[in-house]
Symmetry: C2
Subunit: 418 residues, 2 copies
């Protein structure tokens, strides 16, 4: 028999007791209500209300094993056949395309505008909806990822208002992926939930069906392995709510530890709590370190020939554009790979650095990108940048197009590479 | 700051370290491989091999948030349209009917035979497959729940062999729900996994596609709130395996605590471990108490007028048959309820005892049942039985049909009830 000693702050102990009191049977080993433990949902609703300044109800919270199952649940409910379409950003985190494909619906893309920092233009949404409708597709919902994955932009409040207005006018469910809400790295942007925006415009629960997804896997906490998350579901009538609950109940409930964690991230330590100061130091330390890493990587990318990179205003990614020489594109084609996949593979082989080709997320035709996380330890970033630069310069030297003056017209695209 | 002391057995500490060593990063906060942590899958495979006496591989294990998501995953993969059918037992745990409906397939029922202790007759399987095929349905898989839910039977080895043979001959995927494998209450029955049966018949990985579902929510552990489980997938070719993996990867991974728990239930403490003795006492105490509760409830039900009840050989349920008087059936009809639902509601109102009407699980036409768990604390069982008996006797007194001798022909069915 071994004896272990642990020390905890008084507010952590107090919180643990409060949580146990909320769970029927005061233990984490039993199934909960299929929406999650009621007391924890109420805690989350209180956290949302404190964040937004508008009422939230625990009855509208569905706790899930991370945000992904919640997204699937909504897709399952929204998609009746391939004639139902879901508007999704391109580039997009491929959970959405995968879920739409799995549920047999139509993926209706809208392009984020790289020229204006991956902005979301309502004109583009309108154009794509009209085009989909002209093909006989019923567009049911709009997915917005804010802050963006893989693009790292944070939507401006005015932009969000236009999006809400658009959904209201077009009769779309707004599916707001807000899992990066704590990850904001620029002074001039703030996170605003779509629910807060809608309420601030005077829209009530009767005006707009809106689902907000949140996860314990992001933010400053990043507890991905715990599989905790929730969706807040507002603006649906009682019949639809009943169906959402029915789908939730098929899997009985989400894991209780993840449920607890979800309630904690929405109610972090408060002023006066013993752990408040150390919590804030740790939290701000993580966020500001992520901001520095984002900045360092962005500057490094922009210093290189053939790469342009928007700011990571939020989330955990940069999505630099590769302006690849024709010769490199030819080499990729010869190797049977997408040009950015070819680049990423060469980078991996040369340096051990993993980036995800833009083609995995979708991108405007004829453009090439890669997604790069800002998650490596901060002290390793300079070495990564230096290895990356060295690779990239060699790559460009290998493939740089002959300059226009020297190029004979009709130069054959050469095949090359390994 | 508060200091807490905990004591653990040396093998528990040792095991904790071993588990941490298996997890990349030695922490539970990160995503794992989408099939689950490789080292934990290997542990589970070792547990399966020890249970069955046949080889098992960690590569064939998919860790999931309980067994339900695993069942959904397989249904998603098996069902292409409403022309694809899945053979499921009636009565059945309604996860299967729900999942088939959600994925747009056809539920092809086969009836368990109450007269022979909820036996599974291959003739019945054959009849139902032929009938489904005559309607243009492609039957893709057979679901067997062993031990049975809600019926509590344990299949005999000979019966299992016939089922394996049937699947092999008919080209069906065998989906074996084996989550109650630790819950066996009779001397003359043992749990045999379908994989063990198939291997003992000489069938290899090339002969039969077979999926076995397991969960941490049942057994003597019953840690439902942890959402741990796995499926062991054998007999599929590499292309199909790739698709299973792709579907698993859409949700990234299952929760790590549930993964760890799954590895623990398949590798409980062993002879020589410090905790072995107390583990065995607790384990055997739980299983033998469940057996006594099952026996007590079964005997009580069989002692009553109008109830017959098969033995609970395993699982956690009894599924007694209600031989309801016509007058009670009439009262139910008048109240707009299924007769067994009417009975269950009256029971709830009179006693506070909750049972689930047989109509929720499906049952042979014209028969009525309810499912009753054997989970109430053992010391409460006598009081429950006594409350139940009192209710049932009054119910029968209220509704008992006039005896044949006294009944005029053409007696109107009376409406009644509350």
């Amino acid at each position: 028999m071994l004896i272990y000693m642990f020390s905890y702050s008084s507010d952590a102990i107090e919180r643990a007791w409060q949580i146990l009191e909320k769970i029927p049977g005061r233990a984490t080993g039993a199934y909960s209500h299929s929406q999650g433990v009621k007391g924890l949902r109420d805690e989350i609703a209180a956290g949302i209300a404190a964040r937004d300044g508008f009422h939230a109800s625990g009855d509208n919270i569905f706790l899930t094993d991370g945000a992904s199952p919640a997204v699937h649940m909504m897709m399952q409910l929204l998609i009746r056949s391939e004639k139902d379409g879901i508007l999704c950003p391109l580039p997009q985190y491929p959970l959405y395309s995968a879920s739409i494909a799995l549920h047999g619906g139509s993926f209706v893309p809208y392009f984020l505008d790289e020229e204006i920092g991956w902005g979301l233009e309502v004109d583009e949404l309108k154009k794509q909806v009209d085009e989909a409708r002209s093909k006989g597709i019923t567009v049911r919902a709009l997915v917005v990822i804010n802050p963006g994955n893989p693009t790292g932009q944070v939507l401006a409040e005015e932009n969000q208002k236009k999006i809400v207005e658009f959904c209201k006018n077009e009769g779309l469910v707004l599916l707001a992926d807000e899992v990066y809400q704590e990850n904001i790295y620029v002074e001039d942007k703030q996170f605003h939930s779509f629910k807060k925006i809608a309420r601030s415009m005077g829209y009530t629960d009767d005006d707009l069906p809106l689902v907000s997804f949140q996860s314990v896997s992001k933010g400053y906490y990043g507890e991905c392995g715990k599989r905790g998350g929730y969706m807040e579901v507002t603006g649906f009538n009682a019949d639809v709510r009943e169906q959402i609950y029915k789908v939730a109940s098929v899997n009985l409930c989400s894991n209780i530890s993840g449920q607890i964690l979800s309630s904690l991230i929405m109610n972090p330590p408060k002023v006066g709590d013993e752990s408040y100061e150390s919590f804030m130091v740790e939290r701000d330390g993580i966020i500001s370190s992520l901001a520095r890493r984002a900045k360092a990587l962005e500057e490094a990318f922009n210093s290189l020939e053939g790469i342009t990179c928007n700011k990571a205003e939020g989330a955990m990614y940069l999505f630099p554009r590769l302006h690849l020489p024709q010769k490199a594109i030819g080499a990729a084609q010869a190797a049977g790979a997408a040009p950015d996949a070819y680049y990423a593979l060469r980078l991996l082989q040369a340096t051990g650095i993993v980036v995800v080709p833009g083609s995995g997320f979708g991108q405007a035709p004829g453009t090439y990108h890669f997604r790069c996380t800002i998650l490596p330890q901060e002290d390793k970033i300079p070495a990564i940048i230096s290895r990356f630069k060295e690779f990239h310069e060699k790559f460009m030297d290998e493939f740089r197009d002959v300059s226009r003056d020297e190029a004979p017209t009709g130069t054959t695209i050469e095949s090359g590479g390994d």
